[in-house]
Amino acid sequence: MSEATPQDQPINSLGVLLAHALAMENDAADRYGELADQMEMHRKKDVASIFRRLEKAEKKHLVELEELTAEMDLPHISPWDFKWGGESPEAIAVDRVSYQMSVRGAILLALDHEKQAYGFYSRVAAQTSDSEVRRLARQFADEELQHVAWLEEWRDKCGPDDEMPFDDPDPPLSQE
């Protein structure tokens, strides 16, 4: 039988849940912003606009959370001790993007991570023994579901052009 890791332990403290939520929203807002910057830097405005809209949505969550926790003393948790293990679920891995990615590809990637965030909060709600943690985790899960719904709507509106990877007429070649 494998040894239980910190990630397997339920969250039974409101402070710990809020510390996780703050970190997740911070990471997500930062990452979407970074990806939007990258795509703008490479003149991929359509893909950049997807990430920028998501950055704004995450920042809105973040502001709400910061207001909620303004008077609270939250525990400090090192990045490697969060219950999710590794990067926070809502932050797209940097190496999963490409300057040639399509609009649809960007939407699907974000959709995957928003679903992971929803999954995280759902698990917290299911595992906790604390009723207030359960209530708040369910609320956060519902908020992530809203992002999932947006992205599914955007995905369904994608036309044929949005599905095409960016065709680079001047690709980076090794010296000839």
């Binding site: 939250l74 190496d95 999963r96 980076p172």
Partner: protein, 280 residues
């Protein structure tokens, strides 16, 4: 584990500058920048007490993207600059960043002697086995049969440089390898590297998605090393003899050699008296 109740003093973003990186989307160097800023935030180091020194290359752009003191130096000369800085200002936390070409070819000799001197520095090498900034030539760590460059159409035919082996043999006091696909683990290792006295070498497997797109599989190729660190250099060397380059995520070696910290005499004498000390 969560510690006693306290507000964090710094966030990772506090260590980032306003400049937007121009690396290719998907580049591992973004992850390294994120890991460095996370590590600095975790250590709550005031930005004005940290310096990042680099040479030349894609990864050497990191100082510009941080809000701490930075020095974007000459190709291959990041380590001597950082050594001088640390000796002159031992109160600063000095990080050195760069790539495999900058560090092991142009700066190869400095690498050997930086390990040997064991000044309290943390050297983070983003190893993508290629010169990316100059559009994809074989570097010291490139496999001998890589045929992706027109300069070496049949591969270099030369065995690649082994940074950790050479670092260990030359006297590095802390050695680790991490993957750009796991920035959180990387941040944790960087914290350990900074806190360990002496010269710390952190090799990052950082894919070049543009000139080595086949490195995308590194995310799935790397594996977490199964053994914890040793303080025995001979044992670390034996582990490296059977290492395929994809064991990551843990510290390999932590030595106990004291860092080089020369005591400077504050001379109140004249320049003539100073000259006399060195006169033949």
């Amino acid at each position: 584990m969560e510690s006693c109740v306290q507000k964090k003093k710094y966030l990772a973003k506090d260590y980032k500058s306003e400049l937007k990186p121009i690396w290719c989307p998907g580049c591992g160097d973004y992850t390294v920048l994120n890991a460095i800023t996370r590590a600095l935030a975790e250590m709550a180091l005031p930005p004005e007490e940290v310096a990042v020194v680099s040479g030349i290359g894609c990864s050497s752009r990191i100082p510009a993207y941080t809000s701490v003191y930075g020095f974007h130096g000459v190709h291959g000369r990041a380590l001597p600059v950082a050594t001088g800085l640390k000796l002159a200002r031992p109160d600063l936390t000095v990080l050195v960043t760069g790539g495999d070409g900058d560090g092991f070819s142009i700066g190869g000799n400095h690498f050997l002697h930086a390990c040997r001197r064991n000044v309290d520095l943390t050297y983070i090498v983003m190893d993508n086995q290629v010169y990316g900034m100059t559009k994809g030539q074989a570097s010291p760590t490139t496999a001998p049969d890589w045929e992706g460059s027109k300069l070496t159409p049949e591969g270099t035919g030369i065995n690649p440089f082994q940074p950790l082996v050479v670092g260990l043999a030359s006297g590095a006091n802390f050695i680790a390898r991490v993957s750009a696909s796991d920035p959180v683990n990387m941040a944790q290792i960087i914290v350990e590297a900074v806190r360990h006295p002496g010269f710390s070498l952190v090799q990052v497997l950082s894919p070049c998605v543009t000139f080595r797109p086949e490195q995308a599989v590194w995310r799935d190729t790397v594996r977490t090393a199964v053994v914890d660190y040793t303080d025995d250099a001979a044992r670390a060397a034996r582990r490296l003899m059977t290492d395929d380059g994809f064991n990551v995520g843990k510290v390999l070696y932590k030595g106990s050699r004291p860092p080089y910290r020369p005591e400077f005499e504050v001379s109140e004498g004249s320049i003539g008296e100073l000259e006399a000390r060195f006169a033949l």
